[in-house]
Symmetry: C2
Subunit: 435 residues, 2 copies
């Protein structure tokens, strides 16, 4: 028979079991952290009507969409989890309680140019809080509390949540009458850590920002100090623009609320350079960095938006949300061996029958499972060496070698596969030991 | 602005939060049961190359495929999890340890005619064990042990796993020289419970089965009694066909091994009528029924196959697997109010600030979370009545109403939302109570 080559599409992550075990642990840790804050699960379809999904999209995004026809329907695969949320909240508005706090962890699709570390199918792990008409600023502080808890539970210690407020930037540009150049200015000041102050000044001059405005931008962007010192400095800059003042007032409150959630001071900071896309976010914005691995970029980003679903409904639905791009994050962390997994295997123990006693070991495995222990059993007939190799490669922490003697006596031996240490005892004692 | 109607595609399940909470509990219970047996997680792409995915498919299946082009690639959405498994095992053969036990829980896509209870996007929850060259029959008994454990953990008590062996049926047809009519004969005898013995005889006569063969078929199909009595009767029928004898020997062994796994006798039975598709399965086959709700059909089916991946590789890879069609099962159970959920909400408790004390309650919520309790907090400014209505609708079991007094005194009150009972104590005592 002619064989078809079993090939997975480029840009689609497919893991070997030992990596999948790690990936799933990360995914479940994120899920449980989101649930700890009472966010509700949501699971929208991967396929939507194109006119619904693309109500807002355009330009670059639309080119990347997986779009096709089936029967008479013009369909698209979701490219994020925010548009499906907007659809969902509009569609079921009358049946939902607001504020609506939901998480969604699911795959999204973007036909980007395939390259190392870039995926066409990838998991996003999103949380959003949607208000009906209005939404308290405390929510803007709750999300950093979720980010803090999530990355702590993922085993990270040295990360910082960078916080800004778009209104401060907008207010700055208003004051300096630079609204028409805001995109370019942001792009240039974003490079300040790399290229230095003087080069930033040069580039700003090149796009015809007046030198006195350049000074003001640098005063602003170079504000240093503790979080409270930065707030003080922002107050002292003397901008009288209303939007600026509103943004600063919001930022000040959000910082206080974050402290109210007991997020330790060293895990968040004001970062006046972050903007997160100019159209969408309207208030608080977040980025999160592993301080020792800044090159990974932001590992969790998001912000506040005025109106989630204006393409679907007249209802004003303000929200605030964050997203973790899990597939890319996993790839990057795994490349650098930075994944903190609690366990390397699904099974806690593998029962290995001596000779051909497999059928007599089945109830031993059942007893371990009934005690809540994930238990594999090597069922096939094989030499002991092959069985032990299987156990070894599977990274299961304990092996229990069971022969006639063990079954008859009720005395079992369990081996710690890492240390080689052996422990003998009754099935109850073994269960105790493994737990 | 012109609004787009926020519409979800027909045939695509999208749940309200309270149902999604139940759905996810079922999904996670199934996952944990699969993991208890040491099955490894797998997560293959939703999109595959059409020539890979459709190497085997044809006819009805191919018509249902979501197939489309993107750039130069001919792509399809997976329609089951077995073909991706075959691809995966062939692709990574050298890196896997055999027997390879994997579970996969994921969405699959079939563009079927939309109708109530039928879905175009649905979850399958599959486990398979794949051998390299050969695979012990004990695996065929392990799967009923998994099914038993899974449905027990889902809260069901009255279900039966029906077991047969295709070789017995094939041997029967060999003996009676009815191989060319086997599809029709199976279709007719499958209806015996509905239409009765006489009508079955009539229909068999209509397709020109000789009357002496009809008697033998009915002798076979009407075998009654306990599992052991059925095995004895099958031995006494006097068929000398080798395939029949092999099938009977396998079935006998599988039954004994199932007992070895301590699956109670009342949860499984031999059912000579089940065949599960004529092409694919070659040995043991399973169906599972809720005895009080037989109309749901089989809720978990599967069987043994000779060769998983012959379209991709020369390696002989025999396997045995089962699948739960979760989306349809959830729909059916939920319609009849048969879901046994451990909890109705994600959060265990909701903190409700009195008046405008929300900011002072944030650290209370944090403390509860740090103790492992999923905690929601009502952050918005609102009348107490509105806050309590939110708590009530959210089905969160406990509400903790927190005002200045509580914060100053450190004495809190938690209300059981079902009984109305109140409990007072320190934060530590409240944590103890909720846990």
């Amino acid at each position: 028979m002619n064989k078809v080559q079993p090939k997975t599409l480029p840009g689609f992550m497919e893991l070997l079991p030992k990596d999948q075990v790690k990936f799933n642990q990360m995914k479940e840790t994120i899920q449980h952290s989101y649930e700890k804050f009472g966010f509700l699960p949501l699971d929208t379809p991967v396929i939507e009507l194109s006119n619904v999904l693309l109500a807002k999209a355009g330009g670059e995004t639309e080119k990347q969409i997986y779009r096709f026809e089936k029967g008479d329907s013009d369909l698209s695969l979701r490219f994020d989890l925010t548009v499906p949320l907007a659809k969902y909240v509009s569609e079921y508005y009358n049946e939902l309680s607001f504020p609506f706090k939901r998480y969604q962890i699911g795959k999204v699709y973007r036909g980007e140019r395939a390259q190392k570390g870039r995926y066409r199918e990838f998991y996003q792990c999103d949380i959003d809080v949607i208000g009906d008409g209005e939404l308290s600023l405390i929510n803007d502080a709750q999300l950093p509390a979720v980010i803090y808890n999530t990355f702590k539970e993922l085993g990270f210690d040295n990360f910082t949540i960078h916080i800004n407020n778009r209104k401060i930037l907008n207010g700055l540009f208003n004051s300096l009458e630079l609204n028409d150049k805001s995109v370019d200015v942001l792009r240039i000041i974003d490079k300040i850590d790399k290229i230095g102050n003087n080069k930033v000044k040069e580039e700003l001059a090149k796009i015809e920002v007046e030198s006195e405005k350049i000074d003001k931008i640098l005063d602003f962007i170079l504000i240093q100090g503790s979080t409270d010192e930065k707030i003080e400095a922002l107050n002292n800059l003397g901008f009288e623009d209303e939007t600026y003042k509103e943004g600063l007032e919001e930022l000040t409150q959000v910082i206080n609320y974050i402290r109210g959630f007991n997020v330790p001071e060293e895990y968040f900071m004001i970062d006046l350079k972050i903007a997160r896309g100019l159209d969408y976010y309207t208030g608080t914005v977040y980025e999160t960095f592993l301080n020792e691995y800044r090159s990974l970029g932001s590992i969790c980003s998001g912000g506040r938006y005025e109106n989630l679903a204006e393409f679907y409904t007249d209802k004003k639905l303000p929200g605030v949300g964050i997203s973790i791009g899990l597939t890319r994050l996993f790839y990057q962390l795994n490349e650098q061996n930075l994944i903190k997994a609690n366990k390397d295997s699904i099974a806690d123990v593998i029962v290995i029958p001596v000779d051909e006693t497999a059928d007599k070991c089945l109830s031993v495995a059942t007893k371990l499972r009934e005690a809540g222990i994930n238990t594999d059993i090597y069922i096939e007939e094989a030499k002991m060496k092959k069985k032990m190799k299987f156990a070894d490669r599977s990274l299961i922490p304990y092996a229990m070698i069971v022969g006639e003697d063990e079954i008859n006596s009720g005395n079992y031996t369990v081996k710690d596969m890492k240390t080689g240490e052996q422990f003998k005892g009754s099935i109850e004692e073994i269960i105790e030991k493994i737990k």
